[in-house]
């Protein structure tokens, strides 16, 4: 007998288990299925750096949080409605993120003494009243999966591997989701690599649905209706994949080779993986011997007339710093991707933070200005990477693209742009037409101050460049004091002028509100949601999101001056806040979190209340 169905606006589901349990896989399946059912979705994978930490240990817990909704959403959600805990460690690490009265789905087969001990439980939490604030849905997930696969040829260990699909079946039933997308995924994608798991995974998935339908542990199922999207064609996209596609789009529009020099590093490696798939676009990916070689090869590519790109995370960017200074000096286009992670040194490689802003702005010797722009959300990585390339090519300069672990690995629906409407790309190539005048490699465009791009192989334009100070116009080595000051100011002014080439700042709210919340990068969704919620309560608060961090938008000072109070929210100790305070002489309040985790909406809402003394 089917159970009653309740319609709800949105739901947050957190899948958690050992890193080998397949939580990321089923999380992605539920995401895609929900997106294709018309929901808005937002995800937050949270996994350890270790590939397989000891089974059952707290260190080995991998999580995947999915928020799906019939409304426009910007975040993966604060707390979850449903927690799927594959073992005691997953429960221990995540139960505090489950809402009161939330549904806790547990694999009871894993709650034996050994695993309980590993998770630090003295007694079995399922047997005392410590979880009484939750609805508990106990499933003998391992035994039931084995039972469903009794007829298959798999070994006992292999059968264990299928239990994530059993759990997914339960979730599909709970939210009335169709299985067709996942069935196709099992047959085509998984099947291509592991053909013998096709039938077992399908059996497990269907057994999960059937089991849930037959159980009386849950009173009703739920439905989240489609969201109202702008008309158009959509696909689900992860941040790092969007970066890759954005760069290819930029190279295609500019009619340039794309050359990506990189060295594997979490959480940027997926961009290298992604780009290496697109050889039919002429994309050349080079996995170099280290971070310095990676940026060097990209600079060499740009020198040779390609769109040179390198990507890394903070520790790798530190190693690239000297070469980026060279790119500043020789004024070649270069895009540098920094997918930020948490902490100094190795820090917390799989966690998120925004603490590399001052590094990319100032982490080089000498006066070494580099434009910096940051992506706001997974789908925005496409536009922002494209924009980074546009600026690099038009202004003949290295450009930093900032993202972070949460948007790099987060996914959301993306309204697919029409290729023909993407902004035009300008390149500064020169050829030697008349050959009467001496070529001046450091002559500049009057408006942008960009020099020209004379690529080796061009007859008549042979010239020398390098890291030594350049004489104005000729590019010859110069130690002349006045020339050095002139060139320093020219390089600075060139970057400053990019402010004339960026759109006006969008203010979300009313001029003259009591409080302005300023943020940048991957915190966009949380800040926007919190401000929207507060506005709905009638609170006088606005939000400004900064995409351009160097140069800052020309209108920002004016905007800031129209508010009584300004709070700058960042996942660091106050990096852009320091700049805003210095630049606009405003007593901006810092709102900072340094836990390797994104902001939660409720935290921002509380901060707004606190500042406004509500």
């Amino acid at each position: 007998m089917s159970k009653p169905r309740q319609t709800i606006e949105d739901a947050v589901v957190l899948f958690a288990g050992d890193s080998g349990d397949g939580s990321q896989t089923i999380g992605a399946q539920m995401t895609q299925t929900s997106a294709m059912a018309g929901n808005d979705v937002s995800t937050h994978p949270d996994y350890p750096a270790e590939i397989r930490a000891p089974a059952g240990s707290l260190a080995g817990v991998s999580g995947f949080q999915l928020h799906f909704s019939s409304q426009d959403i910007f975040t993966p959600g604060d707390k979850c409605d449903v927690l799927v805990a594959m073992n005691p460690a997953a429960l221990s690490e995540n139960h505090e993120y489950l809402k009161p009265n939330g549904l806790l789905i547990v694999n009871t087969d894993n709650f034996q003494k050994k695993n309980l001990n590993l998770a630090g439980y003295v007694s079995n939490p399922l047997e005392d009243d410590s979880l009484s604030q939750f609805q508990i849905f106990s499933i003998e997930l391992t035994r039931l999966t084995h039972e469903a696969l009794a007829e298959t040829e798999l070994t006992s260990k292999e059968k264990d591997l299928c239990k994530n699909f059993f759990a997914l079946g339960v979730i599909f039933w709970l939210f009335n989701r169709p299985m067709d997308y996942t069935l196709r995924f099992i047959k085509e994608t998984l099947g291509a690599r592991y053909p013998k798991f096709v039938e077992p995974n399908i059996l497990a998935l269907k057994a999960g649905v059937a089991f849930a339908e037959a159980t009386d542990q849950v009173a009703s199922t739920y439905e989240v209706k489609p969201a109202k999207f702008q008309p158009g064609k959509y696909r689900n996209i992860m941040g790092n994949a969007a970066v890759a596609i954005g760069l290819i789009a930029a190279s295609q529009k500019a009619r340039l080779q794309l050359v990506y020099g990189s060295y594997p590093i979490t959480p940027a490696s997926d961009i290298l993986h992604e780009l290496s798939k697109y050889k039919e676009f002429g994309v050349k990916t080079m996995q170099m011997e280290d971070e310095i070689a990676a940026v060097g090869s990209a600079i060499g590519a740009s020198y040779g007339g390609a769109l040179g790109v390198t990507g890394s995370s903070g520790p790798g960017i530190a190693l690239k710093a000297e070469a980026i200074g060279l790119a500043v000096m020789v004024e070649l286009p270069l895009v540098i991707l920094n997918i930020q992670r948490a902490g100094p040194s190795t820090g917390m490689p799989t966690k998120t933070e925004q603490s590399d802003l001052l590094q990319v702005l100032y982490g080089r010797n000498g006066e070494s200005p580099v434009p910096v722009i940051a992506a706001a959300r997974p789908s925005d990585c496409f536009d922002t990477a494209y924009e980074a390339a546009r600026i690099a090519l038009k202004y003949m300069t290295p450009v930093f693209f900032l993202s972070d672990n949460s948007i790099a690995n987060g996914a959301e629906p993306w309204k697919i742009p029409d290729a023909s409407t993407l902004p035009a790309m300008t390149t500064r190539f020169v050829s030697n037409g008349s050959n009467t005048e001496e070529f001046m490699p450091y002559a500049r465009d009057e408006e942008t101050l960009a020099r020209s791009w004379a690529v080796p192989g061009t007859p008549g334009l042979e010239h020398r460049i390098g890291g030594l100070e350049k004489q104005d116009l000729t590019g010859n080595v110069s130690y002349d004091p006045d020339n050095h000051e002139k060139m320093t100011r020219l390089r600075d002014e060139k970057v400053a002028r990019i402010a004339n080439d960026i759109p006006p700042t969008e203010v979300f709210g009313q001029d003259g509100d009591e409080l302005l919340v300023i943020g940048w990068g991957g915190t966009f969704g949380t800040l926007r949601t919190a401000v929207k919620n507060k506005q709905a309560e009638g609170v006088s608060v606005s939000h400004v999101h900064l995409r351009y961090l160097n140069p800052l938008p020309a209108d920002l000072g004016d905007i800031i001056s129209r508010y009584q109070k300004v709070v700058v929210a960042e996942l660091n100790l106050g990096q852009i806040a320091t700049i805003i305070r210095a630049r606009y002489l405003v007593d901006a309040i810092g709102f900072n979190k340094i836990q390797g985790q994104p902001f939660y909406v409720y935290e921002v809402e509380s901060k707004i209340d606190e500042i406004l003394e509500r």
Binding site: Q32, M36, G38, P231, G232, K233, Y234, R235, N236, I245, I248, K253, V259, G261, Y278, K279, E280, F281, G282, V283, K284, M286, M288, E289, I292, A293, A294, V295, G296, S297, I299, G300, A301, Y303, G304, G305, A306, G308, E322, A323, G325, L326, V330, I416, P417, A419, V455, P456, G457, P459, G460, L461, E462, H463, R464, I465, G466, G467, L468, V477
Partner: protein, 361 residues
Amino acid sequence: MNLVKRKFRSSAVKAIETNSPPVAVPTLTHRDFESDQDKRWCPGCGDYSILKQTQKILPELGIPREQLVFVSGIGCSSRFPYYMNTYGFHTIHGRAPTIASGLKATNPDLSVWVITGDGDTLSIGGNHFIHLLRRNFDINVLLFNNQIYGLTKGQYSPTSEVGKITKSTPTGSIDNPFNPISIALAAGATFVARSLDRDTKHLPVMMKAAFEHKGTSFVEIYQNCNIFNDGAFFTYTEKATKADNVVQLEHGDPLIFGANLDKGIRLNGFQPEVISLNGDSTYATDDLITHDQFTEDPTLAHFLSRMTENEELPLPIGIFRSIQRPCYEDALAQQIDTQKEKKGEGNLESLLNAGDTWVVD
């Protein structure tokens, strides 16, 4: 030298090969390769000689000037590109191989030369150097080895001998030097040679051979720093001592040297040793090592590279090894061609619309 495959593919050469109307290649002289910049090397520096030899051979290579790119790192030798009227990139310390690699991958038609020194390539840039050799880009590397840091005013280098007294080692250096030829061979280099700045006959031959070799060509050039390490190589370069202290490697020839060509090198077990070929000697030419630069196995080349470690043995100059292997930039381009054949030329519209999509009306 005729055994070395000619490899340069300038557009002019291509046009000739495909029987198109011949493109006139202007006749250039060494002056066409001199830039207008004043040279800043100390008077008497060995770099002048290497620069001159380079400018002398370039017109003979038949490459249009715009196809030539000299990429350097940091150090005295790395000022080289400023003095060449070609494309040039004076980069940062040790990193020239990385920039040259990106450039060559982008435009395989260019003739790319890396100019570097012992500090630049074996100390700060050691990692890039071995990886460049392993990838076998078609790039020519000229290592000016003066066994000293010149531009920073006289500290010992990774090729300086143990015990060297310098500004940073007033009581003598205590670290063992690298053997550049051995390192290049260990890294899988496909072309390895050594020459001398003052040998104006031998050096251009080595540079041309490096140019003609398809793959990374490594030429170590002993270069005199007359300020901080004057005379380090005079035993090998000066008339009075050269013949008895240098053995010239020639493919197919036995290793014979000496003012009277009466000494040879034979292998005694694993040890090369000098034997006399005088009338009363029990040895004959047949007992000597016969040089084979084309053999795939690098063992012989390794033996020869280690001869500098034994003061009894002469210094080998010439080509240690010259073998053929696929080049990185060609393999890269080929993978792209294969994917284009398989999937068709990339289409941006289909890329954007790939994967599972849905339409909202």
